[in-house]
């Protein structure tokens, strides 16, 4: 039953991932990314993490990719401008490194195969996630607020009109 859900979702996620990279139009890439995120949400469901799955949809699919699309539209990139310089040798090297990395991850993942521990009662519910955030990981959770504040300050700082008569470098 789990496999029947997991395999299609995983295949879709991989296909979406390839689509993100391969699509010539930025909007198509964004749609492919949406597919990846949605399929990942399904795999979270298989892992009994319903709350995280729904948050994944709301936050990533509902907010972040919308912002991507927003930017693409504001810039009005339509025809998928190709890279200005072609880097054939780098592309080969990148493919080789990626293949090596994939092999290393496969070895790591398959090597770790063992009987998985049973899911404890109440795992993956909103209550469990909330307890983990506020009890076990309070400090990282609060630190995330600081990072977001930095993001807001950065947006204000960098979005402001540059000062007149600056260093003009």
């Amino acid at each position: 039953m789990e496999w029947a859900v997991f395999l299609p979702a995983a295949a879709l996620a991989v296909a979406g991932g390839i689509g993100v990279v391969a699509a010539r139009q930025p909007v198509h890439s964004a749609i492919a990314l949406l597919i990846v995120l949605a399929s990942l949400a399904v795999t979270y469901l298989v892992l009994a993490a319903q709350f995280v799955a729904v948050l994944q949809v709301i936050i990533y699919a509902g907010a972040i990719v919308v912002l991507f699309l927003f930017v693409i539209m504001l810039l009005n990139v339509r025809s998928g401008e190709g890279p200005a310089v072609k880097l054939p040798r780098q592309a080969v090297a990148a493919a080789a490194v990626a293949a090596g990395y994939l092999a290393a991850l496969l070895v790591a993942a398959l090597g770790a195969a063992r009987p998985f521990p049973a899911v404890p009662q109440g795992f993956g519910t909103a209550q469990a996630v909330g307890a983990a955030l506020l009890a076990g990981y309070l400090l990282p959770f609060e630190l995330a607020a600081v990072i977001m504040l930095v993001g807001i300050v950065a947006a204000v700082l960098l979005g402001r009109r540059p000062p007149a008569g600056g260093e003009g470098r």
Binding site: Y137, P140, R169
Partner: protein
Amino acid sequence: MTSIPPVPLGLLAPELVVLAVAMVVLLADLWLPPARRGLLVVAAVAGAVAAAWLGLGLPDGVGFAGTYVRDGLTRAGQTLALAATALGLLVAPEYLRRGGLDRGEYYFLVLVAGLGAMLMAASRDLLLLFLALETLSVPLYVLAATGRGSVRSQEAGIKYFLLGAFASAFFLYGVALVYGTTGTTRLPEIGAAFSAQPVSASAAAGVGLLVIGLGFKAALVPFHTWAPDVYEGAPFPAAAFMSVVAKIGAFVALVRVFPMTLGALALHWSALLGALAVLTMVVGNLAALLQTSYKRMLAYSSIAHAGYLLVGVAVGTPQAVGAVITYLLVYAAMGTGAFAVAIALERGGAEADRIDDYAGLSARAPLLAVAGGLFMVSLAGLPPTGGFMAKLGVFLAAADAGLPGVILALVGFLTSVVSVYYYLRVAYVMFSPAPSAGVTPAQRSGVVHADATAIAPGSGTAGAAVRLHASPLLNLAVLVAAAAVIQTGILPSTVAALGAQVAALLR
């Protein structure tokens, strides 16, 4: 309802002070008249100093469900981070005022980056370490892009951001693999789990990815390519700060993860870190030889210093780790100092970034030139400066640790000899006579600065005179840095206490 464990805010006092001062600076900027913005820096520096003083007095402890620890390494790392933050704040206002960039946000970002480095030192959990790393990095990305009028600064910001995000992804992937192998993110439990079972492929891959993430922040070869471009494009004070604070955060975290957590598995990681150290020392020093831009030269120099520091981590003995802490302190002083000297100079409204711009400095500002020369001598690692004692400490500790350590120390020594050439060239230029009027420095030295003009596109001021600016705060920063370099060179025992505290943790 699950009960929420107690929140030991007292343990976090230094961090809270820094965060509170950062907020105050951010908000006060709204009401302060522009003429009194100097108060912001004073407040920020005072906050950093107060936090350091507070942190040194707090007792050891573990809190927040075991994610946070205050021990000797925390204390040393936080003191270093706060010292770097204070210096980074002091060098900024003069430059920012010149560029019309003098706003509270700048100091806010510097303080928050310092906070990130502080929490990296105190992380006892990989997730806290990751978020602290981001708290350190995100402000640095923004600081690199604060030169709003400059395309180079924007480019530096976006480059640093994209590559940094990539490195963070690697780090997070590593955390996931380690968690998948051990079922925990707490460092001591990870250490125990790794020691209990044979090293699995996923554990090795996870730890390797952690090295990539931290290595990027520390600018280790081969994860260093961003550094020259970013330092070159970033405003001078931002480059000065990021070159120092990112190293402190990354190396304290490396010490926490490798010698302290995985000490029992030293066989598996010390060869990897040692190889990275050799690569970093060689590439950094050789590339620095070729630079005509002062910032790029310092960027490669900071890569080379990351290599020396990594020697200490790779060896991993208590003595070597203590030497790394001392080295970081000295590096904070001489690295910031070397940038501070350049901040005092300006050529035709642009940064004085060509090494030739420093010709004749000794005649116009003898004390500044002496300080600049001192920092160069110290970076090169010559006595009687702190740079010499620091290098000596690391190399001696490495040589004590057996054959691989001897090789590392030898490579470090040889590359240091190479580095003398490019550091002393700068010192030599500073003390050489100024070019006569009408002759541009480029013509004078007979070198065609193809890339130097490319660096300042359209500035049209290649021949403009170099002018000197100095403010009390900048002078103070240079003075403090120079004093630290001399003191650590002549009386190294005064700073050895911090390193000894860390070394004691490993024994």
